[in-house]
């Protein structure tokens, strides 16, 4: 992805008030992870898997943090049990930012994630926005985080190829 697009993602998180992030690095989104890891304002915890990241974010919320999870489309699948539980049973707000693989323009083998990402979020009752234009990245992250915290729900922002690459 282009560095200026990664900067927009981090800018969106910071303007949204996100001060705690967790996830597992994804090669397609690596610039975002590196920037978060280097920025003390958005403390990044690298976890062993994405379900662990959900648990860490859940606990951080109870400590007053405004957490976001940075998950690959594959990682969303790993996180599903804990994310569904946190969203549906506990009703604790976690912002989830996902670089969208498998959409138009990606290799055929990534098509798996087109079939799992949006239907998976629907199944977990996680509302989401798909961002297709880079100029919408910052605003959408801020709006989704605001709604997550007001509704006490997990909300996802999916950034597709047109917005990021």
């Amino acid at each position: 992805m282009k560095l200026e697009k990664a900067k927009l993602v981090v800018q969106g998180l910071k303007e949204a008030g996100v001060d705690f992030t967790a996830g597992v690095p994804d090669s397609q989104f690596i610039e975002v992870y590196r920037m978060l890891a280097a920025d003390p304002e958005v403390r990044y915890v690298g976890t062993a898997n994405e379900a662990e990241a959900v648990g860490v974010g859940f606990g951080a919320w109870f400590g007053g943090k405004k957490p976001a999870l940075i998950l690959a489309t594959s990682g969303l699948l790993v996180a599903t049990y804990h994310l569904a539980r946190v969203n549906i049973l506990h009703e604790v707000p976690l912002l989830v930012v996902i670089p969208y693989r498998g959409d138009i323009g990606d290799p055929r083998w990534m098509g798996l994630y087109k079939k799992t990402t949006e239907p998976g979020l629907d199944a977990m009752d996680v509302p989401y926005r798909v961002v297709s234009r880079s100029e919408d990245i910052v605003r959408t992250i801020k709006e989704c985080n605001e709604s997550a915290r007001a509704w006490l729900r997990c909300i996802a922002v999916i950034l597709n190829e047109e917005a990021l690459w």
Binding site: V45, A51, V54, F58, A150
Partner: protein, 209 residues
């Protein structure tokens, strides 16, 4: 071998009121909720979420002591968290694992299927191998008292594996309501807000506020 209930009673008698306890689902939360009347409890952390949640709290509230009241099957589901914790080094976190070596569930009168600790896995060695230097195993109430008191007085992270009976035939009465996850969320969040000054729940109005 000691029972879960005996160790939980011992734990209840020695911990300070402001120690934050995150407990795993099943009998850890069910028994703990019957034994204690305290606000600093986050109950019902499902399989794989107890120690990660306690770790997240420890990161967010470095001035507070956090105890993860976990179990062997629950911890093993997300065991990588021990490596994460070792690297992040939250000095205020203690992990106490009730290791009954089987997937007992909440109400069973016979042992469940074995966990990995029912075979060759030794959690104390796993924790040490992950990089948590303060790791030990206890087998009775006096040992638990000594190790918990040590953990609460010294910088961690600490890991205590408590070997307990495979069955929970020794059970508390059910005369208290253990709060459900949403009820517990509001109670616990308000307690944290009141005692630490952080804002958690917010106004609930979003852009309409």
């Amino acid at each position: 071998m000691v029972t879960r209930l005996t160790l939980l009673k011992e734990l209840a008698s020695i911990i300070p009121e402001d120690l934050i306890v995150v407990s795993s689902i099943g009998n850890n939360s069910g028994f703990w909720g019957q034994l204690v009347q305290r606000e600093a409890n986050l109950f019902h952390a499902t399989l794989g979420m107890c120690t990660p949640a306690a770790f997240g709290l420890a990161m967010a509230l470095p001035q507070r002591k956090i105890l993860s009241l976990d179990s062997d099957g629950n911890l093993i589901l997300n065991m990588g968290v021990l490596g994460t914790i070792a690297n992040e080094n939250p000095t205020n976190l203690t992990i106490l694992v009730m290791d009954n070596r089987n997937y007992l569930g909440s109400h069973k009168r016979e042992p469940g299927m074995p966990t990995a600790t029912g075979g060759k896995m030794k959690l104390e060695q796993v924790a040490k191998g992950c990089g948590i230097e303060s790791a030990c195993t206890v087998h009775e109430a006096a040992g638990l008292r000594e190790k918990v008191n040590m953990a609460l007085s010294k910088s961690g992270p600490h890991f205590i594996c408590a070997q307990i009976e495979p069955l929970d035939l020794d059970r508390p009465g059910k005369d208290k309501r253990v709060p459900d996850p949403r009820e517990n969320k509001y109670q616990f969040a308000k307690y944290i807000e009141r005692t630490t000054g952080v804002e958690i729940l917010g106004g609930g109005l979003g852009n309409f506020g």
